[in-house]
Protein backbone atom coordinates (compact mmCIF):
# COMPACT_ATOMS: atom_id res chain seq x y z
CA UNK A 1 0.00 0.00 0.00
CA UNK A 2 1.11 3.55 -0.79
CA UNK A 3 1.19 6.28 1.85
CA UNK A 4 0.78 9.87 0.68
CA UNK A 5 2.43 12.48 2.89
CA UNK A 6 -0.39 14.88 3.75
CA UNK A 7 1.21 18.24 4.43
CA UNK A 8 -1.15 20.59 2.66
CA UNK A 9 0.96 21.54 -0.35
CA UNK A 10 -1.56 21.52 -3.12
CA UNK A 11 -4.38 19.42 -4.29
CA UNK A 12 -3.95 15.65 -4.53
CA UNK A 13 -7.33 14.77 -6.02
CA UNK A 14 -5.81 13.97 -9.43
CA UNK A 15 -3.11 11.80 -7.88
CA UNK A 16 -5.53 9.73 -5.79
CA UNK A 17 -7.85 9.49 -8.81
CA UNK A 18 -4.98 8.02 -10.85
CA UNK A 19 -4.17 5.51 -8.09
CA UNK A 20 -7.87 4.57 -7.94
CA UNK A 21 -7.97 4.00 -11.70
CA UNK A 22 -4.94 1.74 -11.41
CA UNK A 23 -6.41 -0.17 -8.49
CA UNK A 24 -3.49 0.85 -6.27
CA UNK A 25 -4.45 1.17 -2.63
CA UNK A 26 -3.29 4.18 -0.65
CA UNK A 27 -3.78 6.14 2.54
CA UNK A 28 -2.80 9.49 3.98
CA UNK A 29 0.16 9.99 6.30
CA UNK A 30 -0.35 12.61 9.00
CA UNK A 31 1.97 11.33 11.72
CA UNK A 32 5.32 9.60 12.13
CA UNK A 33 3.72 6.32 13.19
CA UNK A 34 1.63 6.18 10.03
CA UNK A 35 4.76 5.75 7.88
CA UNK A 36 4.93 2.18 9.18
CA UNK A 37 1.54 1.35 7.68
CA UNK A 38 2.77 1.63 4.09
CA UNK A 39 5.42 -0.02 1.90
CA UNK A 40 5.78 2.92 -0.48
CA UNK A 41 5.63 6.64 0.18
CA UNK A 42 4.64 9.48 -2.17
CA UNK A 43 5.48 13.12 -1.45
CA UNK A 44 3.20 15.20 -3.68
CA UNK A 45 3.47 18.96 -4.07
CA UNK A 46 2.52 21.90 -6.22
CA UNK A 47 3.12 25.60 -5.84
CA UNK A 48 6.05 27.37 -4.21
CA UNK A 49 8.94 25.13 -3.09
CA UNK A 50 9.83 27.37 -0.15
CA UNK A 51 6.25 27.42 1.09
CA UNK A 52 5.93 23.67 0.59
CA UNK A 53 9.14 23.10 2.60
CA UNK A 54 7.81 25.31 5.38
CA UNK A 55 4.56 23.33 5.49
CA UNK A 56 6.43 20.03 5.51
CA UNK A 57 8.69 21.26 8.35
CA UNK A 58 5.62 22.36 10.31
CA UNK A 59 4.31 18.78 10.30
CA UNK A 60 7.42 17.62 12.17
CA UNK A 61 7.76 14.70 9.75
CA UNK A 62 11.09 15.75 8.20
CA UNK A 63 13.45 13.64 10.38
CA UNK A 64 11.27 10.56 9.78
CA UNK A 65 11.23 11.15 6.02
CA UNK A 66 15.02 11.47 5.93
CA UNK A 67 15.40 8.20 7.83
CA UNK A 68 13.13 6.17 5.53
CA UNK A 69 14.60 3.20 3.72
CA UNK A 70 11.49 2.16 1.82
CA UNK A 71 10.85 3.53 -1.68
CA UNK A 72 9.85 7.22 -1.67
CA UNK A 73 8.60 9.10 -4.74
CA UNK A 74 8.52 12.90 -4.84
CA UNK A 75 6.30 14.35 -7.55
CA UNK A 76 6.88 17.83 -9.04
CA UNK A 77 7.53 20.16 -6.07
CA UNK A 78 7.63 16.99 -3.95
CA UNK A 79 10.65 15.99 -6.04
CA UNK A 80 12.26 19.39 -5.67
CA UNK A 81 11.94 19.09 -1.88
CA UNK A 82 14.34 16.13 -2.04
CA UNK A 83 17.12 18.43 -3.29
CA UNK A 84 19.32 20.59 -1.09
CA UNK A 85 18.26 24.04 -2.24
CA UNK A 86 15.82 25.91 -4.47
CA UNK A 87 16.24 29.30 -6.07
CA UNK A 88 12.50 29.67 -5.45
CA UNK A 89 12.56 31.80 -2.32
CA UNK A 90 16.24 30.77 -1.82
CA UNK A 91 14.98 27.86 0.26
CA UNK A 92 16.95 25.17 2.06
CA UNK A 93 15.26 21.83 1.36
CA UNK A 94 15.55 18.20 2.56
CA UNK A 95 19.02 17.62 1.05
CA UNK A 96 18.37 13.93 0.41
CA UNK A 97 19.67 14.28 -3.14
CA UNK A 98 22.64 16.68 -3.31
CA UNK A 99 21.38 18.74 -6.25
CA UNK A 100 20.04 22.25 -6.73
CA UNK A 101 16.66 23.42 -7.99
CA UNK A 102 17.11 26.38 -10.35
CA UNK A 103 14.85 28.75 -12.25
CA UNK A 104 14.51 28.55 -16.02
CA UNK A 105 16.11 31.66 -17.38
CA UNK A 106 14.68 32.98 -20.57
CA UNK A 107 17.38 31.31 -22.59
CA UNK A 108 16.82 30.65 -26.25
CA UNK A 109 13.52 32.55 -25.98
CA UNK A 110 11.87 29.60 -24.23
CA UNK A 111 8.67 30.30 -22.37
CA UNK A 112 8.31 29.96 -18.61
CA UNK A 113 6.49 28.04 -17.14
CA UNK A 114 7.60 24.96 -19.05
CA UNK A 115 4.07 23.71 -19.64
CA UNK A 116 2.99 20.80 -21.77
CA UNK A 117 4.17 17.44 -23.06
CA UNK A 118 7.88 16.90 -23.47
CA UNK A 119 10.07 13.90 -24.17
CA UNK A 120 11.73 12.10 -21.29
CA UNK A 121 14.89 10.14 -22.00
CA UNK A 122 15.47 7.49 -19.37
CA UNK A 123 18.55 5.42 -18.58
CA UNK A 124 18.15 1.80 -19.62
CA UNK A 125 17.29 -0.60 -16.84
CA UNK A 126 15.63 2.08 -14.72
CA UNK A 127 12.87 0.27 -12.81
CA UNK A 128 10.60 3.36 -12.72
CA UNK A 129 10.65 3.46 -16.53
CA UNK A 130 10.15 -0.25 -17.06
CA UNK A 131 8.02 -0.68 -20.20
CA UNK A 132 8.21 3.02 -21.07
CA UNK A 133 10.16 3.91 -24.21
CA UNK A 134 13.00 6.37 -23.77
CA UNK A 135 11.73 9.55 -25.42
CA UNK A 136 8.12 8.99 -24.29
CA UNK A 137 6.08 12.14 -23.60
CA UNK A 138 5.14 13.24 -20.09
CA UNK A 139 3.19 16.28 -18.91
CA UNK A 140 5.19 19.04 -17.22
CA UNK A 141 4.14 22.26 -15.48
CA UNK A 142 6.95 24.05 -13.69
CA UNK A 143 9.12 27.16 -13.65
CA UNK A 144 11.98 25.66 -11.63
CA UNK A 145 14.01 22.60 -12.55
CA UNK A 146 16.59 20.30 -10.98
CA UNK A 147 20.02 20.49 -12.56
CA UNK A 148 21.23 17.57 -14.66
CA UNK A 149 23.76 15.37 -12.87
CA UNK A 150 24.80 11.97 -14.24
CA UNK A 151 25.15 10.56 -10.71
CA UNK A 152 21.52 11.18 -9.75
CA UNK A 153 19.62 11.96 -12.96
CA UNK A 154 17.98 8.76 -14.18
CA UNK A 155 15.89 10.45 -16.89
CA UNK A 156 16.36 13.82 -18.49
CA UNK A 157 14.34 16.29 -20.47
CA UNK A 158 15.47 19.11 -22.72
CA UNK A 159 13.96 22.58 -22.58
CA UNK A 160 16.68 24.82 -23.93
CA UNK A 161 18.72 23.24 -21.16
CA UNK A 162 19.06 19.58 -20.22
CA UNK A 163 17.51 19.02 -16.78
CA UNK A 164 16.49 16.17 -14.48
CA UNK A 165 13.09 14.70 -15.38
CA UNK A 166 13.67 11.95 -12.83
CA UNK A 167 16.26 11.50 -10.09
CA UNK A 168 17.24 8.72 -7.75
CA UNK A 169 19.43 8.45 -4.68
CA UNK A 170 19.16 4.99 -3.12
CA UNK A 171 15.49 4.49 -2.16
CA UNK A 172 14.52 8.09 -2.93
CA UNK A 173 13.02 8.83 -6.34
CA UNK A 174 11.64 12.01 -7.82
CA UNK A 175 9.85 12.96 -11.03
CA UNK A 176 9.42 16.52 -12.25
CA UNK A 177 6.47 15.73 -14.53
CA UNK A 178 2.98 14.77 -13.39
CA UNK A 179 2.56 11.01 -13.89
CA UNK A 180 -1.12 11.34 -12.90
CA UNK A 181 -1.66 13.61 -15.94
CA UNK A 182 0.70 11.93 -18.37
CA UNK A 183 -1.60 9.47 -20.07
CA UNK A 184 -0.56 5.81 -20.29
CA UNK A 185 3.14 6.49 -19.78
CA UNK A 186 2.38 8.19 -16.48
CA UNK A 187 0.14 5.38 -15.32
CA UNK A 188 2.82 2.82 -16.17
CA UNK A 189 5.32 4.80 -14.09
CA UNK A 190 3.00 4.85 -11.09
CA UNK A 191 2.50 1.11 -11.42
CA UNK A 192 6.26 0.61 -11.65
CA UNK A 193 6.73 2.59 -8.46
CA UNK A 194 4.09 0.50 -6.71
CA UNK A 195 5.92 -2.64 -7.83
CA UNK A 196 9.41 -1.57 -6.71
Amino acid sequence: MIGIVNYGAGNIFSLTAALDRLGLRYGMINSEAEFDLYEKIIIPGVGHAGTAMQKLSDTGLVPKIKSLNKPVLGICVGMQLLTEFSEEGNSQLLDIVPLKTLRFRELESKKVPHMGWNRVYSNSGQPLFNGIASGAYFYFVHSYFIEFNPNFTVAYCDYGIKFSAAIQNNNFYGVQFHPEKSGEAGETLLKNFANL
Binding site: A17, D20, E106, K111, P113, W117, V141, H142
Partner: protein, 251 residues
Protein backbone atom coordinates in the same frame (compact mmCIF):
# COMPACT_ATOMS: atom_id res chain seq x y z
CA UNK B 1 11.37 19.38 -27.45
CA UNK B 2 8.11 20.56 -26.01
CA UNK B 3 5.31 19.31 -28.23
CA UNK B 4 2.55 21.47 -29.64
CA UNK B 5 -0.79 20.80 -27.97
CA UNK B 6 -4.14 19.99 -29.59
CA UNK B 7 -7.04 21.02 -27.38
CA UNK B 8 -10.72 20.21 -27.94
CA UNK B 9 -13.03 22.67 -26.20
CA UNK B 10 -16.33 21.48 -24.75
CA UNK B 11 -19.21 23.75 -23.84
CA UNK B 12 -20.95 22.71 -20.65
CA UNK B 13 -24.37 23.68 -19.39
CA UNK B 14 -25.65 22.44 -16.03
CA UNK B 15 -22.91 19.82 -15.93
CA UNK B 16 -23.79 18.47 -19.38
CA UNK B 17 -21.98 19.05 -22.66
CA UNK B 18 -23.92 20.95 -25.29
CA UNK B 19 -23.50 21.26 -29.07
CA UNK B 20 -23.74 18.21 -31.21
CA UNK B 21 -21.06 15.65 -30.94
CA UNK B 22 -21.30 12.78 -33.35
CA UNK B 23 -18.71 10.22 -32.52
CA UNK B 24 -20.13 6.96 -33.75
CA UNK B 25 -19.53 4.95 -30.62
CA UNK B 26 -20.67 7.56 -28.15
CA UNK B 27 -23.45 6.41 -25.88
CA UNK B 28 -24.22 9.77 -24.35
CA UNK B 29 -23.03 12.87 -26.21
CA UNK B 30 -24.03 15.02 -23.26
CA UNK B 31 -21.82 13.24 -20.79
CA UNK B 32 -18.67 15.34 -20.29
CA UNK B 33 -16.82 12.42 -18.74
CA UNK B 34 -17.41 10.08 -21.64
CA UNK B 35 -16.49 12.78 -24.14
CA UNK B 36 -13.35 13.71 -22.27
CA UNK B 37 -12.34 10.09 -22.14
CA UNK B 38 -12.96 9.66 -25.88
CA UNK B 39 -10.87 12.72 -26.70
CA UNK B 40 -8.05 11.65 -24.47
CA UNK B 41 -8.06 8.22 -26.13
CA UNK B 42 -7.91 9.87 -29.55
CA UNK B 43 -4.75 11.69 -28.50
CA UNK B 44 -5.98 15.10 -27.35
CA UNK B 45 -3.22 16.69 -25.27
CA UNK B 46 -5.47 18.69 -23.02
CA UNK B 47 -9.14 19.65 -22.68
CA UNK B 48 -10.95 22.89 -22.02
CA UNK B 49 -14.46 22.92 -20.53
CA UNK B 50 -16.32 26.16 -20.87
CA UNK B 51 -19.19 26.44 -18.42
CA UNK B 52 -21.59 28.62 -20.37
CA UNK B 53 -24.19 29.02 -17.64
CA UNK B 54 -21.93 29.32 -14.66
CA UNK B 55 -23.67 30.98 -11.75
CA UNK B 56 -23.21 30.52 -8.06
CA UNK B 57 -26.31 28.33 -7.86
CA UNK B 58 -25.06 26.06 -10.61
CA UNK B 59 -21.52 25.93 -9.31
CA UNK B 60 -22.11 22.72 -7.38
CA UNK B 61 -23.09 20.87 -10.56
CA UNK B 62 -19.90 22.01 -12.23
CA UNK B 63 -17.78 20.90 -9.29
CA UNK B 64 -19.31 17.42 -9.46
CA UNK B 65 -18.58 17.31 -13.18
CA UNK B 66 -14.96 18.38 -12.63
CA UNK B 67 -14.50 15.64 -10.04
CA UNK B 68 -15.96 13.05 -12.39
CA UNK B 69 -13.63 14.14 -15.20
CA UNK B 70 -10.59 14.14 -12.92
CA UNK B 71 -11.45 10.63 -11.75
CA UNK B 72 -11.61 9.23 -15.27
CA UNK B 73 -9.22 11.22 -17.44
CA UNK B 74 -5.42 11.06 -17.40
CA UNK B 75 -4.64 14.28 -19.28
CA UNK B 76 -4.80 17.86 -17.99
CA UNK B 77 -7.89 20.00 -18.28
CA UNK B 78 -8.96 23.60 -17.80
CA UNK B 79 -12.28 24.93 -16.56
CA UNK B 80 -13.57 28.33 -17.62
CA UNK B 81 -16.71 30.35 -17.12
CA UNK B 82 -18.06 32.37 -14.26
CA UNK B 83 -14.92 32.38 -12.10
CA UNK B 84 -14.73 35.73 -10.38
CA UNK B 85 -13.44 34.97 -6.90
CA UNK B 86 -10.61 33.05 -5.26
CA UNK B 87 -13.08 30.65 -3.68
CA UNK B 88 -14.54 29.69 -7.08
CA UNK B 89 -11.06 28.81 -8.28
CA UNK B 90 -10.13 26.97 -5.11
CA UNK B 91 -13.19 24.73 -5.33
CA UNK B 92 -12.26 23.82 -8.91
CA UNK B 93 -8.63 23.15 -7.98
CA UNK B 94 -9.69 20.88 -5.14
CA UNK B 95 -12.03 19.03 -7.50
CA UNK B 96 -9.07 18.18 -9.75
CA UNK B 97 -8.98 20.95 -12.37
CA UNK B 98 -5.43 21.63 -13.56
CA UNK B 99 -6.10 25.20 -14.66
CA UNK B 100 -8.86 27.73 -14.66
CA UNK B 101 -9.52 30.30 -17.32
CA UNK B 102 -10.81 33.76 -16.58
CA UNK B 103 -12.09 36.29 -19.07
CA UNK B 104 -14.55 39.09 -18.33
CA UNK B 105 -14.03 38.90 -14.56
CA UNK B 106 -10.38 39.78 -15.13
CA UNK B 107 -11.31 42.69 -17.39
CA UNK B 108 -13.62 44.04 -14.70
CA UNK B 109 -11.11 43.38 -11.93
CA UNK B 110 -7.53 42.93 -13.20
CA UNK B 111 -6.32 42.42 -9.62
CA UNK B 112 -8.04 39.00 -9.78
CA UNK B 113 -5.14 37.79 -11.95
CA UNK B 114 -2.59 38.79 -9.28
CA UNK B 115 -4.68 37.25 -6.52
CA UNK B 116 -5.17 33.93 -8.30
CA UNK B 117 -1.50 33.70 -9.30
CA UNK B 118 -0.42 34.40 -5.75
CA UNK B 119 -2.83 31.89 -4.25
CA UNK B 120 -2.34 29.00 -6.69
CA UNK B 121 0.70 29.77 -8.87
CA UNK B 122 0.86 31.25 -12.36
CA UNK B 123 0.59 27.83 -13.97
CA UNK B 124 -3.03 27.62 -12.75
CA UNK B 125 -4.19 30.89 -14.32
CA UNK B 126 -5.19 31.03 -17.98
CA UNK B 127 -6.33 34.39 -19.27
CA UNK B 128 -8.91 33.99 -22.04
CA UNK B 129 -9.20 36.99 -24.35
CA UNK B 130 -11.85 37.48 -27.03
CA UNK B 131 -10.54 39.96 -29.55
CA UNK B 132 -11.94 41.72 -32.60
CA UNK B 133 -10.14 43.74 -35.21
CA UNK B 134 -11.42 47.31 -35.60
CA UNK B 135 -10.10 49.98 -38.00
CA UNK B 136 -8.08 51.54 -35.18
CA UNK B 137 -6.64 48.32 -33.80
CA UNK B 138 -7.44 45.07 -31.97
CA UNK B 139 -9.80 45.38 -29.02
CA UNK B 140 -10.91 43.13 -26.19
CA UNK B 141 -14.57 42.09 -26.41
CA UNK B 142 -16.81 40.58 -23.77
CA UNK B 143 -19.83 38.26 -23.78
CA UNK B 144 -18.79 36.21 -26.77
CA UNK B 145 -17.82 39.25 -28.79
CA UNK B 146 -21.05 41.17 -28.28
CA UNK B 147 -19.69 43.89 -26.01
CA UNK B 148 -16.74 45.97 -27.16
CA UNK B 149 -14.32 47.47 -24.65
CA UNK B 150 -11.82 50.26 -25.10
CA UNK B 151 -8.99 48.00 -24.05
CA UNK B 152 -6.41 47.28 -26.68
CA UNK B 153 -5.81 43.52 -26.95
CA UNK B 154 -2.00 43.67 -27.07
CA UNK B 155 -1.84 46.04 -24.12
CA UNK B 156 -4.22 43.90 -22.05
CA UNK B 157 -2.32 40.70 -22.70
CA UNK B 158 1.00 42.27 -21.75
CA UNK B 159 -0.54 43.65 -18.57
CA UNK B 160 -2.05 40.26 -17.73
CA UNK B 161 1.32 38.57 -18.16
CA UNK B 162 2.89 41.04 -15.77
CA UNK B 163 0.07 40.48 -13.28
CA UNK B 164 0.69 36.74 -13.27
CA UNK B 165 -1.28 35.04 -16.04
CA UNK B 166 0.48 31.77 -16.85
CA UNK B 167 -1.03 31.23 -20.28
CA UNK B 168 -3.08 33.15 -22.86
CA UNK B 169 -6.09 31.66 -24.66
CA UNK B 170 -6.66 34.06 -27.54
CA UNK B 171 -9.90 33.77 -29.52
CA UNK B 172 -10.30 35.84 -32.65
CA UNK B 173 -13.97 36.78 -32.84
CA UNK B 174 -13.41 37.75 -36.50
CA UNK B 175 -12.39 34.19 -37.26
CA UNK B 176 -14.54 32.25 -34.80
CA UNK B 177 -17.09 30.12 -36.63
CA UNK B 178 -15.76 31.03 -40.09
CA UNK B 179 -13.64 27.88 -40.57
CA UNK B 180 -11.26 30.03 -42.59
CA UNK B 181 -8.17 29.37 -40.51
CA UNK B 182 -6.69 30.92 -37.38
CA UNK B 183 -5.81 34.62 -37.23
CA UNK B 184 -2.14 33.95 -37.83
CA UNK B 185 -1.10 37.58 -38.12
CA UNK B 186 -2.47 38.55 -34.72
CA UNK B 187 -1.40 35.27 -33.10
CA UNK B 188 2.19 35.73 -34.25
CA UNK B 189 2.19 39.26 -32.92
CA UNK B 190 0.84 38.19 -29.52
CA UNK B 191 3.07 35.12 -29.31
CA UNK B 192 6.15 37.28 -29.94
CA UNK B 193 4.97 39.79 -27.36
CA UNK B 194 4.82 37.46 -24.33
CA UNK B 195 7.02 34.82 -22.75
CA UNK B 196 4.15 32.63 -21.51
CA UNK B 197 2.38 29.95 -23.57
CA UNK B 198 -0.29 31.04 -26.06
CA UNK B 199 -3.26 28.94 -27.19
CA UNK B 200 -4.73 29.82 -30.59
CA UNK B 201 -8.51 29.73 -30.90
CA UNK B 202 -11.10 30.68 -33.47
CA UNK B 203 -11.28 29.75 -37.14
CA UNK B 204 -10.10 26.15 -37.37
CA UNK B 205 -11.74 24.56 -40.42
CA UNK B 206 -9.24 22.00 -41.65
CA UNK B 207 -6.15 20.13 -40.54
CA UNK B 208 -4.06 22.44 -42.73
CA UNK B 209 -5.19 25.37 -40.58
CA UNK B 210 -3.39 23.74 -37.65
CA UNK B 211 -0.24 23.23 -39.72
CA UNK B 212 -0.36 26.90 -40.66
CA UNK B 213 -0.88 28.23 -37.16
CA UNK B 214 2.07 26.28 -35.78
CA UNK B 215 4.36 27.07 -38.70
CA UNK B 216 3.45 30.74 -39.06
CA UNK B 217 3.08 31.79 -35.43
CA UNK B 218 4.89 29.23 -33.23
CA UNK B 219 2.03 29.32 -30.68
CA UNK B 220 2.11 26.51 -28.13
CA UNK B 221 -1.33 25.04 -28.64
CA UNK B 222 -4.38 25.23 -30.86
CA UNK B 223 -7.96 24.86 -29.69
CA UNK B 224 -11.11 24.03 -31.60
CA UNK B 225 -14.63 22.86 -30.84
CA UNK B 226 -17.05 22.01 -33.64
CA UNK B 227 -14.55 20.58 -36.14
CA UNK B 228 -13.66 17.99 -33.52
CA UNK B 229 -17.17 17.43 -32.19
CA UNK B 230 -18.65 16.85 -35.64
CA UNK B 231 -15.78 14.57 -36.63
CA UNK B 232 -14.70 16.90 -39.45
CA UNK B 233 -11.17 16.67 -38.11
CA UNK B 234 -10.06 13.46 -36.44
CA UNK B 235 -7.29 14.00 -33.93
CA UNK B 236 -5.18 10.96 -34.93
CA UNK B 237 -5.22 12.08 -38.58
CA UNK B 238 -4.52 15.69 -37.62
CA UNK B 239 -1.55 14.64 -35.52
CA UNK B 240 -0.21 12.39 -38.27
CA UNK B 241 -0.31 15.34 -40.66
CA UNK B 242 1.42 17.64 -38.17
CA UNK B 243 4.13 15.03 -37.64
CA UNK B 244 4.61 14.73 -41.40
CA UNK B 245 4.97 18.51 -41.55
CA UNK B 246 7.83 18.27 -39.01
CA UNK B 247 5.83 19.83 -36.21
CA UNK B 248 6.71 18.45 -32.77
CA UNK B 249 3.64 16.53 -31.65
CA UNK B 250 2.89 13.76 -29.15
CA UNK B 251 1.74 10.58 -30.89
Amino acid sequence: MLSKRIIPCLDVKDGRTVKGVNFVDLRDAGDPVELAWQYSNQGADELVFLDITATHEKRKTTIEMVKAVARQVNIPFTIGGGISEIKDAEALLNAGADKISINSAAVRNPQLINDLAKAFGVQFVVLAVDTKHLPIGDFVHLNGGRIATEIETQKWIKEAEQRGAGEILLTSMDKDGTKSGFDNVLLKQINDLVSIPVIASGGAGSSEDFVDVFKLTDVDAALAASVFHYGEILIPELKALLKKEQIEIRL
